[in-house]
Subunit: 332 residues, 2 copies
DNA sequence: TGATATAATGGAAGCGCTTCCATGCCTTCG
DNA sequence: CGAAGGCATGGAAGCGCTTCCATTATATCA
């Protein structure tokens, strides 16, 4: 390749062991020797080969993150937290974007078993028992963010509470006919957030003695356009809702779009609340439930790094709080 | 670690060379031997160690992408194209997010020289001559996306043309007082897109015989809030513009916000056009200039991989077209 | 049938590190 | 002053592959 540890050793007039000791900050090097070695490194512009280090150390010094649809705002911001934290460590970050169940399955099979990484962070994708068993056997730590498996460490937000808060907020504004627009509760990726928020929605209705009306729950593929169509269905009901809780801000955009198309005003005719507090929510004055994306990424990496250091520790469970953000679309 | 090529060789009753040949699809293996080896691999659940392969091959099979502010929509979508293309190759992708000039400089110094990657893709950051010289000496191919250096391959869009198109569109709608809201033309990251779009803006004005009025060009840090403030300054002018061209859709949001705050209608009072066609632009019915982000990432990776295979080929220059998207905010 | 070309195979060397062990030196202490 | 221990150091072994070269088995031809 280029200049190796042997070149440095020769130049400095020492053995390779000594060069290695200097590189790794061993205390057993005489100060003058250290200086000579550092000078040689400088003169030769030497950089140790990470590949060789990794082979020798039997560590890849790399962690992988597997994220679905990583262009969605929720994932991007988490990714940013992950990158920032990994960048401060000695590890490299390699990313896998999952947009199909095939790719998810491929990643679940290959990534933890391919000897490429020391640990894996998985976002929003809940693995099955067989997956977890295989990973355990391979000895590769896996940490989940916004996903669930009993045997794995995870960082989550309390989506049930978030759904509850959003619904409660609408109820307390006086609404009685409250709809929920969401992703399919049962979906190929097994995303749980819409489901948990749904639970919160149901629970709030129940707590306040409001009936759950199945036709008020509309589910469809994630996306603005789909949410817009679902909203039109809601508005076509004999008894349309006066408030709509959308499972994400992106979907809330679709809700607002449909209302606009009907000439309905927000919040006067129909109140709207979303979820996530994506950047554009503020501009749109959209009420929403904010969750700490960046921090969840940060914490996920921290859990993972701890686990890599000490694989024996029991799985940890971190739950981050969500926060109601009231704006114009649910203004009194 | 686990099971190695020696275990497989022993199990199959062959030499390690033969196992290696099977793994690498060499034709010089008897069919029956191949089958035995494959059976042993299967039985032992063997996976070759990528680290050992890389040391032996003297290739890292990894490429890096250095992107500033990778949560901005423009970067996210490019990243998606990059990931998709890299995933189809034998390479791994490691990502560096740059949010400060310090981190940029650190990445420019460390990433190409650290023997960690076979090639680097840099987005929107134009390197200096010394950087390029250093990388060339290290023999690490570098490809730019949305950035410029004469000695490097690059994928760009014609931002001058994009700026021209946007301005021309406004002119043809009858506007004569057209403002431009942008990032600082001179900025620490040396982003060029605002500058190029500015050139297009100036050129269109000139071509149509309209005077350039310096007070119509407002520049400030990137972001919605900043653009909003700049817009208020424009509206405070004695002779405020009747149309505003924002250097990005995010900034266009700020423009729209300011207009809303003034009770001005779009497009009746002030027409607005953005740049990028981010997802929310459609919802907002924002006219804009669309650029092929995903594809630019794809092409960047392809150029880089080609260059890794054949480092001698001269730098290539790919220019992707931009497209005017007319929506309500500039409706007749 | 024997000589020769060809295909299949084994395994040593080498990729560039870390680490462990052996060695030689210098202290320190009785 | 000699023994014993502690430092600093050199370098072999080993990490798990690929590849090249040598060797053996097989096929081809006169």
């Amino acid at each position: 390749m280029g200049v190796t540890i042997y070149d440095v050793a020769k130049r400095a007039g020492v053995g390779i062991g000594t060069v290695s000791r200097v590189l790794n900050g061993s205390p057993h090097v005489r100060e003058e020797t250290r200086r000579r070695v550092l000078a040689a490194i400088e003169e030769l512009n030497y950089r140790p080969s990470p590949i060789a280090q990794r082979l020798s150390l039997r560590k890849t010094l790399t962690i992988a993150v597997i994220a679905p649809f990583f262009t969605r705002p929720a994932f991007v911001e988490r990714l940013r937290g992950i990158e920032a934290t990994v960048a401060e460590s000695e590890y490299d970050l390699i990313v896998y974007n999952v947009e199909t169940t095939d790719k998810r399955d491929a990643c679940f099979h290959e990534v933890p078993l391919g000897h490429k990484v020391d640990g894996v962070l998985i976002i929003s994708l809940s693995p099955g028992d067989e997956d977890v068993a295989r990973w355990k056997e391979a000895g590769v730590p896996v940490v989940l963010v916004d996903a669930y498996h009993p045997a794995l460490s995870r960082v989550v937000v309390d989506d049930v509470a978030g759904g509850y808060m959003a619904t409660q907020h609408l109820i307390e504004l006086g609404h009685r006919r409250i709809a929920y627009v969401s992703d399919p509760l049962v979906n190929p990726f097994n995303f749980t957030s819409s489901r948990d928020r749904y639970r919160g929605y149901r629970r709030a209705l129940a707590d306040y003695g409001l009936p759950f009306r199945p036709e008020y729950h509309q589910q469809g593929e994630h996306g603005r356009a789909q949410a817009r169509a679902l909203t039109h269905r809601l508005l076509d009901l004999n008894d349309p809702p006066t408030a709509i809780f959308a499972a994400s801000d992106t979907q809330a955009l679709g809700v607002l779009e449909a209302l606009r198309e009907r000439g309905l005003r927000t919040p006067e005719d129909v109140a709207v609340i979303g979820y996530d507090d994506i950047e554009v929510a503020e501009y749109l004055e959209l009420s929403t439930v904010r969750q700490p994306f960046f921090e969840s990424g940060t914490l996920g990496v921290e859990l993972l790094l701890k686990r890599i250091d000490d694989p024996e520790q029991p799985p940890q469970h971190v739950e981050l709080p969500v926060e109601l953000v009231v704006r114009r679309t649910t203004a009194g």
